[in-house]
C-alpha cells in the first residue's frame, strides 16, 4: 500500500490543524509569561460549543463563531483568576479542564438526551474547499479539508508576524521577558496577560470547532483526548516561537496520520493511540537535551531566548571549571 502521497499530506494537515490552533494560543501565553495548561479543556468546550451551535443554528460557520466566542468567555476564568487575582494558573487549569470534561458530558445528556456521543442526522459540518479540486497539488492537499485547515497555517504566520513585527507584539514579549520594564513604560502587565489568555481561548475555540465540525461531524465525550496537552508540549519544543510551533505540530500531525495509516494496514489501534504521545515525548526530550529551558522559569532566570544553546552550554562549562 502506498503510505506516502498527497492524500497523506492532506491527512497530516487535518490532524495538525486543531493542535496548531491550540498551540499558537499556548505560545502567545508563554510569550506573555503565562504557563497555560488549560488548552485541553478549552478545546473540548470549543468542540462541544461548535456542534451545539451548528445544531441549533443550522449553520456550521455560526457554530464556529459560537465556539470561538464562548471559549474566549470560558478562558476569562483563567485570565482574570491568574492575572488579576494572582491565583495559581495550574490549579485553575486543572479545575477548568475537569469542568469542561464534566459539563460537556452533562450537557449532551441534558440538552440532547444522548450518552457519550452526539451525532445528529444532518448536522452541518464545515464544507470542504471543493473549488480547489481541479488545481493540481493544492486540490489534493487542501481540497478535501475545511477552510480552517489552511487558515491554521496562515494563523501561525500571522502570530509570528504580530509578535515579531508589531509594537503590541513586542510589548507582549516584554511582559514575558521583563514585566517590571513593561510596567515602567506605563503599560499594564495584567491587561496584556489577560488579553493573551483570552486570545488563546478564542484559538482553542477554533481548534475545537475544526476537531468536531471539520475532522468529523459529531461530538463525543473527551474527544480532544489529550491534544491540548500535546499542544502544550509543542509550545515547549518550539521554545514559544510560532513558526517552530507549526513545525512541531506538523510532526504531531504526521505521527497521528501515520498511526491511522498503520491501523489501516492491520496494526492495533492502541499503537495509533500511543504513537503521537510517545513521539511528542521523545522529541520533547531531544529538544530539551539541546536547550534546557522552560518558559515559566524564563522570567526567573532571565536567559535571553536567542542565546545559542551551544554557546550557553560552553559558558556553563567554563562556570563549573572555575
Amino acid at each position: 500500500m502506498d503510505l506516502f502521497n498527497w492524500a497523506f499530506v492532506a491527512a497530516v494537515l487535518l490532524a495538525t490543524a486543531p493542535v496548531l490552533y491550540a498551540a499558537l494560543g499556548g505560545a502567545l501565553c508563554a510569550q506573555a509569561g503565562v504557563f497555560n495548561i488549560a488548552l485541553e479543556g478549552q478545546m473540548l468546550w470549543g468542540a462541544f460549543a461548535a456542534v451545539a451551535g451548528s445544531y441549533y443554528t443550522g449553520s456550521a460557520w455560526l457554530g464556529v463563531l459560537i465556539a470561538v466566542l464562548s471559549t474566549a468567555l470560558f478562558a476569562v476564568v483563567l485570565a482574570v483568576g491568574s492575572a488579576r487575582w494572582k491565583a495559581d494558573p495550574i490549579v485553575i487549569a486543572i479545575g477548568t479542564n475537569l469542568f469542561a470534561l464534566g459539563v460537556t458530558g452533562f450537557l449532551i445528556r441534558v440538552l440532547f438526551d444522548v450518552n457519550g456521543s452526539f451525532a445528529p442526522q444532518g448536522l452541518a459540518g464545515l464544507g470542504t474547499l471543493t473549488f480547489l479540486a481541479d488545481v493540481p497539488i493544492l486540490g489534493e492537499v487542501f481540497g478535501r479539508n475545511s477552510a480552517l485547515v489552511p487558515l491554521a497555517l496562515l494563523t501561525a504566520v500571522a502570530v509570528a508576524w504580530w509578535l515579531g513585527r508589531t509594537p503590541a507584539g513586542l510589548r507582549l514579549r516584554g511582559v514575558g521577558e521583563h514585566p517590571e520594564a513593561v510596567a515602567a513604560l506605563g503599560l499594564s502587565v495584567e491587561r496584556y496577560r489577560i488579553a493573551a489568555i483570552i486570545a488563546a481561548g478564542a484559538l482553542c475555540g477554533l481548534a475545537g470547532a475544526q476537531l468536531s465540525l471539520g475532522n468529523v461531524s459529531l461530538f463525543t465525550e473527551n474527544m480532544t483526548a489529550g491534544r491540548g496537552w500535546i499542544a502544550v508540549a509543542a509550545v515547549m519544543i518550539a521554545v514559544n516561537r510560532p513558526l517552530r510551533v507549526a513545525v512541531a505540530c506538523l510532526g504531531f500531525g504526521a505521527a497521528e496520520a501515520f498511526g491511522f495509516r498503520l491501523q489501516g494496514i492491520g496494526a492495533p489501534q492502541q499503537l495509533a493511540d500511543a504513537a503521537p504521545y510517545v513521539i511528542t515525548l521523545i522529541v520533547l526530550v531531544m529538544a530539551r537535551g539541546r536547550t534546557a529551558m522552560f518558559p515559566a522559569r524564563v522570567a526567573a532566570e532571565k536567559t535571553p531566548a536567542d542565546k545559542d544553546p551551544a554557546e550557553k552550554a560552553s559558558a556553563e562549562k567554563v562556570d563549573t571549571q572555575r
Binding site: 490549579v91 479545575g95 469542568f99 464534566g102 452533562f106 483526548a225 496537552w229 492502541q270 530539551r288 537535551g289
Partner: protein, 370 residues
C-alpha cells in the same frame, strides 16, 4: 499554599490593628486553613444547584438522592471501597504536591499497577500465601517506575513534571489495553479482560463485607505513614520547604532532583497499588477501561488539592469526593440526573478553591486605597 497564607495572616495581625480582640479572634477563626475546603465545597454545592436549576432539575431532589446513594446502609460497603481507592489516588497526587509538583499521570500508573498485579495473580507460580503480597508489591513497583521517569526529565532537562506524567499516561493506558486485548486477555471472551483471578490472588474482605477488603487497612497505614513522614521526618520537611519556595530550598542545599524522583516514585507506587487493589477486588479481573472510567484519579486529584496535600485532611476531602462520586450514580438512578454532574461539582470545587485568592486580592486593594 495555605502555609504562606497563615504567615500572611500572622504578619497582618502583628501590625497595629484597629480591630478589637474579639473581631481578630473571629477573623483568625474564619481564616483557619481547614475552613477553606469547607467554604469551597459549600460554594460548589450552591453553584451546582444553579446548574441543576438551569437544567430543570430540582436540587432538593438531586442532593438527597446523592447522599442516599452514597450513605444508605446497603450502599456503605461499596462506598467505603471507593473511599479506599480515592484516598489512595489522593495520596498519589498529594505527595509530589507537597513539593509543588503535580502528578497528573495517575491513570497510567493505576493501569500499570493493575495489569502487573493481574499478570502475577494469573501466571506467577507462587505459593498461595505469597501471591497477594507479591502481586501488590509488583503493581506498586510498576506504577512507581512509570512515575519516576518524570523525575530526571524534570531535573536534568527541565521538562515540567505535570507534562511528562500526563504524556506518559496515555501510552501506558494504550499499552495495557493492547496487552489485555491481544496478549493476556481471556481467550474466547468478547470483552477485553483477563480471566478471573484465582482465589489466592483475591484480597480478603473485612468481616463479611463484599467490597470493602483489607486494602482499606493498607491505605490507612499508608496515610498514617504519610502523616508521620510529612510532619516528623527531615525529608518531609525538605519537601515542604521546596513546596513553599523551591529556589530557597535548592539554595539551602536540598537535593531537589533526588526528592522529585523519590516522591514521584512513591506516588506512582501508591497509584500502582490502588490499581492492584482494584484488580484483586470483585470482579477479580483487569477489564480494559474499568480502572480509569470511574474517575478515581481525578477525584483523588481534587481531594488532594482541596486538602492542599495535608495528610490529616486527606481522608476528609477524599470522603467528600467519594460521596460525590458514588452518590452521582445514586442520583442518576433515583432522580435521573446525569452522573457527569459529579465531575462538574468536583471541577467547581477545585476552581473555586484556586480562585479564593480573590479575597486576598480585594483585601490588598482595600489596604492600598486606605
Amino acid at each position: 499554599m495555605p502555609e504562606l497564607k497563615e504567615t500572611d495572616a500572622i504578619a497582618e495581625e502583628a501590625l497595629p490593628s484597629k480591630s478589637v480582640l474579639g473581631r481578630s479572634v473571629f477573623r483568625q477563626l474564619i481564616r483557619h486553613p481547614s475552613l477553606v475546603p469547607l467554604g469551597a465545597v459549600l460554594l460548589a454545592v450552591l453553584i451546582g444547584s444553579v446548574i441543576m436549576l438551569c437544567a430543570g432539575i430540582s436540587p432538593f431532589v438531586a442532593y438527597p438522592a446523592m447522599v442516599r446513594g452514597a450513605l444508605a446502609v446497603e450502599n456503605l460497603d461499596y462506598t467505603i471501597s471507593v473511599f479506599t481507592l480515592i484516598c489512595g489516588m489522593a495520596l498519589a497526587f498529594a505527595l509530589p504536591l507537597r513539593m509543588g509538583e503535580y502528578n497528573l499521570g495517575g491513570n497510567g500508573q493505576l493501569v500499570f499497577g493493575g495489569i502487573t498485579a493481574a499478570a502475577i495473580g494469573l501466571y506467577a507460580p507462587l505459593p498461595a500465601w505469597l501471591v497477594i503480597p507479591i502481586a501488590l508489591l509488583a503493581g506498586a513497583v510498576a506504577g512507581g517506575l512509570l512515575a519516576a521517569v518524570a523525575g530526571p526529565l524534570s531535573s536534568k532537562l527541565g521538562i515540567p513534571i505535570i507534562i511528562t506524567t500526563l504524556l506518559l499516561s496515555t501510552p501506558a493506558v494504550a499499552l495495557t489495553s493492547y496487552l489485555v486485548r491481544f496478549q493476556i486477555g481471556e481467550a474466547g471472551s468478547g470483552q477485553a479482560q483477563t480471566a478471573r483471578l484465582p482465589e489466592a490472588a483475591r484480597l480478603p474482605g473485612i468481616g463479611d463485607l463484599g467490597y470493602t477488603n483489607i486494602g482499606l487497612i493498607l491505605i490507612i497505614v499508608l496515610l498514617v505513614a504519610f502523616w508521620l513522614f510529612d510532619s516528623r521526618s527531615a525529608l518531609g520537611y525538605e519537601l515542604r520547604v521546596l513546596g513553599s519556595n523551591a529556589r530557597f530550598g535548592a539554595y539551602g542545599g536540598i537535593g531537589v532532583s533526588r526528592l522529585a524522583t523519590g516522591s514521584l516514585a512513591v506516588a506512582g507506587a501508591v497509584a500502582g497499588l490502588v490499581g492492584a487493589m482494584i484488580v484483586a477486588a470483585p470482579p477479580y479481573r483487569f477489564i480494559d477501561g474499568a480502572l480509569i472510567s470511574p474517575g478515581y484519579t481525578f477525584a483523588g486529584v481534587a481531594a488532594a488539592l482541596l486538602a492542599a496535600g495535608r495528610p490529616a485532611l486527606l481522608p476528609l476531602t477524599a470522603a467528600v469526593f467519594t460521596i460525590l462520586q458514588v452518590g452521582g450514580s445514586g442520583m442518576e438512578r433515583e432522580a435521573d440526573v446525569p452522573r457527569q454532574l459529579s465531575d462538574v461539582l468536583q471541577a467547581v470545587v477545585v476552581t473555586v478553591l484556586a480562585l479564593r485568592t480573590v479575597v486576598e486580592a480585594r483585601r490588598a486593594r482595600m489596604r492600598r486605597d486606605v
